[in-house]
């Protein structure tokens, strides 16, 4: 069970997470949707304690974290907390952060060996197994710089999975993947999910989201606007923001295509960064 309650995170004056609140049941696959810059990555980073949030509470399993303004932790406490948190929670970064000095295989073996103290052979096996699953069996000896975007992303996935955490946070696991790979990733997530793992996936790929999630959370302006089953959220969204966001996602509805062509006014509403998002339409 993951409970996030009224989390607030600021960068200087810029409030990135603004009383975000939601729950996720164990063993569920939850997709977080939302416009760019709404705080999705930040949220995941907070859940993995890569960043500390200012206020609010967060409970992952039996690990509880509170905002720094509510309670300052001693270095020792902090250390213990992160250790316990991270042995449960794995994350896949939006920008991969692969280890450039290690091969694909090395990237996946490193943590099992150092953290879990596995033997080289054992770690190698596991690493291979997951590289297999993401279809990179034969690139195992390439260094990150020798891999394509998609391949890098898949190495990142394999690296996280190799630690076999209970909770896995994916920051756009498919951004650089083609439909086929998206499917196999989908399949993988499903399988993990059916293995009782809790999955939190940030994604822009609606089809993907709709297809695989048990729960969908729509994020905007730093807080969870709406959450429910895919059917509910995609089917008949309650909140205005959600509706606006969804409307832009019905490719089969050709009117959209026209919209785009003519760049009609409603696009002005599509503002997420509080900055006016210009459209070349205006210039035409």
């Amino acid at each position: 069970m993951i409970e996030v309650t009224d989390i607030v995170k600021r960068y200087g004056s810029n409030t990135v997470l603004n009383n975000a609140t939601f729950q996720i049941k164990d063993g569920q696959l939850t997709t977080i949707l939302g416009p760019s810059g709404c705080g999705k990555s930040t949220l995941l980073r907070c859940m993995n304690r890569l960043e500390r949030f200012d206020r609010g509470r967060m409970k992952i399993g039996d690990v509880e974290v509170v905002g720094t303004e509510d309670r300052k932790l001693t270095p020792a406490e902090e250390k213990e907390l992160t250790r316990r948190l991270r042995e449960r929670v794995g994350i896949i970064f939006q920008n991969f952060n692969l280890f450039p000095h290690l091969t694909a295989l090395g990237n996946c073996m490193e943590a099992p060996m150092t953290v879990k103290g596995m033997q080289r052979k054992e770690a190698e096996e596991i690493a291979r197994q997951y590289l297999q699953k993401v279809g990179l069996a034969e690139k195992e000896n390439h260094f990150p710089a020798q891999l394509s975007g998609g391949q890098q992303q898949r190495v990142a996935i394999a690296r996280a999975l190799a630690m076999e955490p209970e909770v896995i946070l994916f920051d756009e696991p498919t951004s650089a993947l083609d439909p086929q790979l998206i499917q196999s990733v989908a399949r993988m997530l499903r399988a993990l999910d059916s293995l009782g793992k809790t999955l939190v996936v940030v994604s822009h790929d609606m089809n993907f989201a709709r297809r695989i999630s048990d729960q969908v959370i729509y994020f905007e302006g730093g807080h969870a606007v709406e959450s429910g089953t895919p059917e509910e959220v995609f089917g008949n969204p309650q909140k205005a923001e959600t509706q606006a966001f969804m409307r832009s996602f019905h490719e089969d509805d050709d009117s959209v295509v026209d919209q785009i062509a003519t760049g009609q006014p409603e696009s002005e509403k599509l503002d997420t960064d509080k900055g006016t998002r210009g459209t070349l339409g205006q210039e035409e």
Binding site: N48, R86, E87, I91, N97, H101, A160
Partner: protein
């Protein structure tokens, strides 16, 4: 001849005086029965003695042969470097030493001298174009260069009225004279003459030798009979062909010959033949320098690494002291650190000073660690923060991530500056000569004193340092290539 050498030899001598081999025969009997006079010489001091392509040459050599002839025996020459020559004489490796040795009361205490056979006084050297100086008396109120602690200096100071510039080595004095920074140079006649011929053609000696240092043949105490025999021989030589012998080596045509010979080889090329005599000294120096530098580098690396790690982590308790250590060790001069570690600290704790080599290594290590730590720190900071995050997010502790993720990427980046530090260490190690350790630079200084050719010895020293750094830079290059981060193209 170099102070250092003389002192070194002398102390060795004192050390070895104890076990003189007890021999049934007297020295003279031994010579007569064997029919050979074994003569020890340090063939590195032309025109008195040197080896030209394996052949002993020089005044002392001819003299030795002449004496042997007089005695009706055969002369056999044994080459021995100066530091070893007295001990060798002591333990009977040869019967006498003929090696341009000045007769001093100091030596007379412990050695047996024959009558003097050569008068090596002090002479004044000036530039060929200089007209107003005709002898030592004209040096009043002028600037005269001498080598530190040589008869030349003491003489001038006795006389007074001359502004004496003391140079570490004779050659520097000659250079200064040549460049017109001083008016004259005063030194041992043969040395000065030899130097002028070899490397300073624009200078000349003037006036008579105004002191007399006399060279004598050396024997061990107890071989008085042989000494007397040799004195006889010398006397009869003086009566007969001593003069032509002298002229052969020091007379006009000798000078001319030498000059022509020198002229042919002007400007003096890099004279490898010197190496033949100098290499044992160089070897010692190189070996010491290498040991000092490598030891300190390898001890300094881990310490530097720890300091760097202490500084990049958040705990003030660790980072602050590290920062201060670096500030202080980089801030204060190595020389001072060496003196304090060798003299100051032992004195403070009433201990006796450690072995100079140990003190040297400790000082160099602690000093270099500070520099190394900054290099490594810079390397660590240059690694993208995402790397640490990735490591931590996989459950690694700060230190695990450091060890497995950050540092491996760091090291490949800091190879060049670390090489800088290693090379700097090679040079800085020369400072430990303040503890009387004879590392490469010190050896160079000494040899320049022995040989007349600074522009040959110094390049040699430089070359040797170059050879010392070479492996270092090669290894660095290899590591750089080996660790070259794989890039897209």
């Amino acid at each position: 001849m170099s102070q250092h050498l003389r002192r070194a030899a002398f102390s060795l001598l004192l050390l070895l005086l104890s076990f003189v081999p007890s021999s049934a025969q007297t020295a003279l009997e031994r010579v007569r029965s064997s029919g050979v006079l074994r003569i020890g010489t340090d063939a590195t001091y032309p025109p008195f003695e040197n080896k030209e392509d394996g052949e002993f040459k020089g005044f002392d050599i001819d003299l030795g042969n002449a004496i042997a002839k007089e005695m009706g025996v055969r002369a056999v020459f044994v080459n021995s470097n100066f530091q070893g020559i007295f001990p060798a004489l002591q333990n009977g490796s040869f019967d006498v030493v003929i090696s341009a040795l000045t007769i001093t009361p100091e030596r007379s205490k412990t050695l047996l001298f024959t009558d003097p056979y050569y008068d090596a006084g002090q002479v004044v050297a000036i530039r060929n174009d200089r007209k107003d100086i005709a002898g030592v008396d004209d040096l009043r109120g002028k600037r005269a260069g001498v080598q530190l602690n040589t008869t030349g200096q003491f003489e001038l100071e006795k006389r007074g009225g001359v502004e004496v510039s003391k140079f570490d080595t004779m050659d520097l004095a000659m250079l200064a004279l040549q460049n017109g920074q001083i008016d004259a140079v005063v030194g041992d006649a043969p040395t000065v003459r030899y130097m002028i011929r070899q490397s300073f053609r624009s200078l000349k000696t003037i006036g008579p030798q105004f002191t007399d240092e006399k060279y004598g043949i050396v024997l061990t105490p107890g071989s008085e009979d042989l000494r007397d025999e040799i004195n006889k021989a010398l006397k009869s030589l003086r009566a007969s062909n001593y003069n032509q012998l002298y002229d052969k080596w020091f007379g006009e045509e000798a000078e001319k010959a030498a000059e022509q010979q020198a002229a042919r080889t002007q400007p003096k090329a890099f004279d490898l033949s010197l190496l033949r005599h100098a290499w044992p000294f160089f070897l010692k120096g190189v070996w010491l320098t290498a040991r000092l530098a490598l030891l300190s580098l390898f001890l300094g690396l881990p310490i530097g690494l720890l300091l760097a790690l202490a500084r990049v982590q958040s705990l003030r308790l660790l980072s602050a002291p590290a920062a201060i250590y670096v500030e202080v060790m980089r801030g204060t001069p190595l020389l001072v650190q060496i003196i304090f570690i060798h003299y100051g600290i032992p004195q403070a704790f009433g201990l006796s000073s450690p072995d100079p080599f140990v003190s040297g290594v400790i000082a160099l290590t602690l000093n270099s660690a500070a520099y190394i730590s900054e290099i490594i720190r810079a390397g660590i900071l240059s690694i993208d923060a995402g790397q640490m995050e990735a490591g931590r997010s996989l459950g690694m502790s700060h230190w695990q991530a450091m060890r497995r993720i950050i540092l491996p990427q760091t090291f490949r980046r800091v190879v060049p500056p670390l090489t800088n530090e290693g090379i700097a260490l090679l040079k800085d190690s020369s400072l430990v000569s303040v503890l009387a350790l004879e590392e490469l630079t010190r050896v160079g200084n000494q040899l320049v004193g022995v040989y007349a050719a600074p522009l040959t010895i110094w390049p040699m020293v430089a070359l040797l340092y170059l050879l010392l750094t070479f492996p270092l830079t090669r290894v660095a290059e290899y590591l750089e290539r080996r660790w070259k981060p794989v890039t897209r193209s």
